[in-house]
């Protein structure tokens, strides 16, 4: 007799498993892909992670994901205007990429559904562990996206924008970008929609030797959306990756950032801005591996919390034993604008090398009264003065990017957010 008590499944878990049963035969993929999907769904069957799983301590997914929308979107999704003008847009609308991929000079673009069908993408469909719930969900369901292969030495004339737009439903997209040695590219990843969807979005990036990549994620999903993002990157020798992440929407958001330095001289820059309002939950979790000697990183995250919003930043830097001369510095600063808001910061440095410079700092503050008085003494009314100071707090992070059109476009996003939430 089987004495194991089957854990009670939540409504969301049941809905996900039902969706898998209904969709499985339609999901693209060869037998190798199907096998990976089967293994991944087993992980979901075992239950979504709770706060007892360390990586999910502040985001009890099982409890927070109370229900999921119907599998199919209720309407069609339309492309949105590019963040940076002149960008080559790669739309993924309600989870479906373009059948005929656009030509981009210096890059080859393949539709992911095709790569799943021909089996060439199966080896890259990985779930990284028992606590990788986003990976598991995505591997089980991922239907489409793009594979962008940027040629060695290519310098893309215009930014490329991966545009995930949903009009509700359950959407699981996956894209991969390979940047060849010495290539240079700016890539924007939009995560947006018109109706509350459940989205998992996984992106893998490899940055070749001496390549230089700026990657910008802007997530501004509708108020009731659940957004589960995962960004994995490997940075080669003497290569540079600047990653900017802005979260300015969604009801339940988790954005994972997992980066490893693979060659000496690799440099990683993370700039994060979280604008949190209403009754929302947003979690940015970063795991960075300094895996070889002589690599550097800077992580600067700034958060604005209003209403009853709850924010989380977990930042873990692993400095491997061989990774001598690592230079890493992480900071997380939060402006708490309401008594009901909450922000949890969990920085972790795991250092196994003995000749490194590593540090982290975190603050949670309110608006500086002296600054407010100064602005008001010049005739700026209290509301406008507060607005100026809050914007200034996050604008500093955006200005760090130093590329004028990027700074302008992101500051415009900031203005838009304050116009509706300020």
């Amino acid at each position: 007799m089987n004495m194991h008590a089957q854990p009670q499944r939540t409504a969301a878990e049941t809905a996900l498993l039902d969706a898998f049963a209904a969709r499985f035969s339609d999901l693209p993929g060869d037998p190798a892909v199907a096998q990976k999907r089967d293994a991944a769904i087993e992980q979901i069957k075992a239950g979504l992670p709770t706060r007892h799983v360390e990586a999910w301590h502040y985001t009890d997914l099982r409890r927070l994901l109370a229900k999921v929308p119907a599998a199919e979107a209720g309407a069609s999704a339309n492309p949105v205007e590019a963040l940076l003008s002149g960008s080559a847009i790669l739309p993924i609308l309600n989870g479906t990429a373009l059948e005929k991929t656009p030509a981009i000079d210096g890059a080859t673009v393949t539709r992911l559904a095709d790569k799943l069908r021909d089996g060439s993408f199966a080896p890259a469909l990985d779930v990284t562990g028992a606590d990788d719930a986003i990976g598991a969900l995505n591997v089980a369901f991922a239907g489409d996206g793009y594979f962008v292969d940027i040629a060695a030495g290519a310098e893309l004339a215009a930014p490329v924008e991966l545009q995930n737009v949903q009009a509700g439903g359950q959407t699981h997209v996956r894209s991969a970008v390979r940047v060849g040695d010495g290539a240079k590219a700016t890539i924007v990843q939009r995560e947006t929609g018109t109706d509350a969807a459940l989205v998992s979005s996984v992106t893998n990036l490899t940055v070749g030797e001496g390549a230089d990549v700026m990657w910008i994620i802007v997530q501004d999903q509708p108020e009731a959306a659940t957004h589960l993002g995962q960004f994995n990157a490997w940075i080669g020798k003497d290569a540079k990756l600047t990653l900017f992440v802005m979260n300015a929407g969604g009801k339940l958001v988790r954005q994972e950032i997992r980066v490893a330095t693979k060659g000496e001289g690799a440099d990683f820059q993370l700039r994060g801005v979280n604008l949190l309002s209403g009754d929302t939950h947003t979690d940015v979790t970063m795991v960075l591996d300094h895996a070889v000697p002589h690599t550097g990183s800077r992580e600067r995250v700034r958060n604005v919390v209003t209403g009853k919003a709850h924010g989380v930043f977990q930042g873990r830097i692993n400095v491997h034993q061989v990774a001598q001369k690592t230079d890493a510095k992480m900071s997380c600063n939060t402006l708490l604008l309401s008594d009901d808001g909450e922000f949890d910061t969990k920085p972790e440095l795991e250092i196994f090398a003995d000749d490194v410079v590593c540090g982290h700092g975190a603050t949670v503050t309110e608006i500086d009264k002296n600054h407010l008085f100064y602005l008001m003494a010049r005739g700026v009314d209290e509301k406008s003065a507060r607005g100026l100071l809050v914007k200034a707090f996050v604008a500093e992070i955006i200005e760090d990017l130093e590329v004028e059109p990027v700074v302008e476009a992101l500051e415009k996003r900031l203005e838009d957010w304050f116009a509706t939430h300020g």
């Binding site: 600054h371 008085f373 100064y374 008001m376 003494a377 010049r378 005739g379 009314d381 100071l389 200034a392």
Partner: protein, 251 residues
């Protein structure tokens, strides 16, 4: 223009009274100097005039053009024409100086029921006034007061004063930290603002500023009260004999 009547004020949430029955009248067109030893309440008075809520008025009143300003917040006072040039101007990272100047000028214009300035007109005015203070426009591209030297901060304060065209200017130890050349530039800037419909209150510790901005009246503040008033000769006398002699006399 300004009439302070029997003003008593303390640091908010404490019993520490700093201003203890202060009386002072400054007329339109007048330049009044307020002098006094450290701790006499000079800076506190300037903050109370500007409306800083770290201080609480417990008795008396401040009338500006005949009306009490005690219930007005700092922005409302600024809109009414009161300007404080800070002794220690605040550094505000992330707020671009030019953006701040534009917002401040347009806030005051809005309060007066005027249209916002056109960008070209705004730039022209800032350029002209900055030039008259020997300020480099590059400086104004930086965040507000960030990385400015002491002298640059004081000039930036005077620049704001000239751009905002207040009716009551309060200068809190504007001379501190300035070398003689900078002092002259700042004093010229203030003198250019002298006009029959404007009052200027110069708070200072030393007489040297008053050689350059010659006051109509001089008031000595001690222990939160004006203990002696006179004309510009009073400042000269103070410089010669120090506060001690005068205060003995007052006692």
């Amino acid at each position: 223009m300004l009439e302070i009547r029997n003003l008593h004020a303390k640091i908010a949430d404490t019993d520490t009274e700093i201003i203890r029955g202060l009386n002072l009248t400054v007329k339109a067109g007048e330049v009044a100097a307020i002098m006094g030893p450290n701790g006499s309440g000079k800076s506190t008075l300037s903050y109370i005039l500007a409306g800083r809520d770290d201080y609480e008025v417990t008795e008396g009143d401040i009338l500006y053009n005949g009306e009490s300003i005690l219930e007005m917040d700092p922005a409302e006072r600024a809109a009414a024409g009161i300007f404080l040039a800070f002794q220690y101007p605040m550094e505000i990272p992330g707020v671009a100086t030019m953006e701040f100047l534009k917002v401040a000028m347009n806030s005051l214009r809005k309060a007066r029921g005027e249209e916002p300035l056109k960008v070209a007109d705004f730039l022209k005015r800032v350029k002209t006034e900055a030039g008259s203070l020997s300020m480099n426009m590059d400086m104004l591209k930086r965040p507000l007061n960030v990385g400015f030297s002491g002298g640059e901060k004081k000039r930036a304060e005077i620049l704001q004063m000239k751009l905002l065209e207040p009716k009551l200017c309060v200068l809190d130890e504007t001379d501190s930290g300035l070398d003689i050349d900078a002092l002259k530039i700042v004093a010229d800037g203030v003198n250019a603002l002298r006009s029959p419909d404007r009052a200027i209150v110069v708070i200072t510790h030393y007489q040297r500023l008053l050689d350059l901005i010659v006051p109509d009246t001089v008031h000595v503040l001690y222990k939160g009260q004006v203990v002696k008033s006179g004309d510009k000769d009073l400042a000269v006398e103070l410089e010669k004999n120090g506060y001690a002699g005068l205060l003995d006399e007052a006692a």
